[in-house]
Symmetry: none
Subunit: 253 residues, 2 copies
Amino acid sequence: MDLPTLTMGQYSLVFNVFSLTLATFLAATIFFWMQRGRVAPEYRTALTITGLVTFIAAYHYLQILFDWKAAFTLVDGAYVSSGTPFNDAYRYVDWLLTVPLLLIELLLVMRLSRGETVSKGWLLGGLAALMVLLGYPGEISDDPGTRWLWWSLSMIPFLIILYQLFIGLGDAIARQPESARGLVSMARYLTIAAWLFYPVVFIFPMIGLDGAGAETAVQVGYSIADIVAKAVFGLLIYTIAVRKSDAEAGQAA
Amino acid sequence: MDLPTLTMGQYSLVFNVFSLTLATFLAATIFFWMQRGRVAPEYRTALTITGLVTFIAAYHYLQILFDWKAAFTLVDGAYVSSGTPFNDAYRYVDWLLTVPLLLIELLLVMRLSRGETVSKGWLLGGLAALMVLLGYPGEISDDPGTRWLWWSLSMIPFLIILYQLFIGLGDAIARQPESARGLVSMARYLTIAAWLFYPVVFIFPMIGLDGAGAETAVQVGYSIADIVAKAVFGLLIYTIAVRKSDAEAGQAA
């Protein structure tokens, strides 16, 4: 896909949002890892993985930031394509690793039985990886028909994940302690709200949205969706782990 | 905004102050994180966040340092604009992340009830983010009228924060143990003294202060204000956490 010519404001907005996202993920990673001691040992694996998700995302945003800089040259006050392509695949590689982990951190903080954690983990993690893999052949195609085909295929695992989160895990959520139940339920809604952004953006070029404005909106939008889906979601996982640790310590005392 | 031509002394002064600020933030970050074990578990989250603030600032000063280098070329003994713009937005991105966190570290070290920490945290953090966001459209404008408009809008959340610090938190400060009360109160005054620097510097171009001398003063001034607001303020938070930990251990014994 050819890169459009951007105004200085558009180029800088995207660059600064990438930098903001990178700083946010670095800070979030350290926070989750450093605060592991704050929660009961049963929840520390959840925080390790929560920090891994933001760590992997920080790595990819560092690469994306460098790529964005290399992809444009300032000519007469406008940013034109430098000829070096902007590598969109970083996002897919990131999602392939982080999206299964996001579902696994939710399962871990819910503290199901070991058997249930393993079976739901493989099911949800596998579906998430499949969803990302099926989206990619569409992403790199310029043909609307091809894009719609892979978009539709990718939506199948997405819908099964939603079904699992809302029906398959319904019982397990009802069993959560009262102080955490609302937050666990909220984590599901946050997942949907943030994740819905990706298939919508995917459709943009199929309905004629392209050029400088669309490119700017897509990059800023992906960054915000990533912050919500990973760092804000992670804070929710952290808060659930703290509340459950405190509730269980209170019971024990 | 076009960069003025700087003397070698002006360019080097700014560069060296940036480097000093970066070294200070890196050292402060390591100090706050390494000393977490010195305070009672209840205060460790406050120190995690205190270190995150200086960490995020260190990231941005590293970028600012590189940007400053790229923005100038040495020609016949003077530093002239190289054509690569100097990205002022790093400061705003930094403040957007760190200013809410600064208020949250103050709340955490005060150790209010959970409900009060959450409600005051959202209120003060939200106001702080709004204050930074409202400043930015003015910062990137060259029109004095536009700058005054956004400056005035940004001052509204600033004044509400001051009101909250001095009236809203008055009771909570009176409830602090005697050995820490004076320091908690001082943290508020330090916040105001350092934060007042920013709206004053913002006005410089509106009252005709520009050119090489003003650019040098602004960059040096911002760096000093950042060191005071983040590292010196963080040391105060650390000292409060130590005093309160010791006072509470004394009561328990």
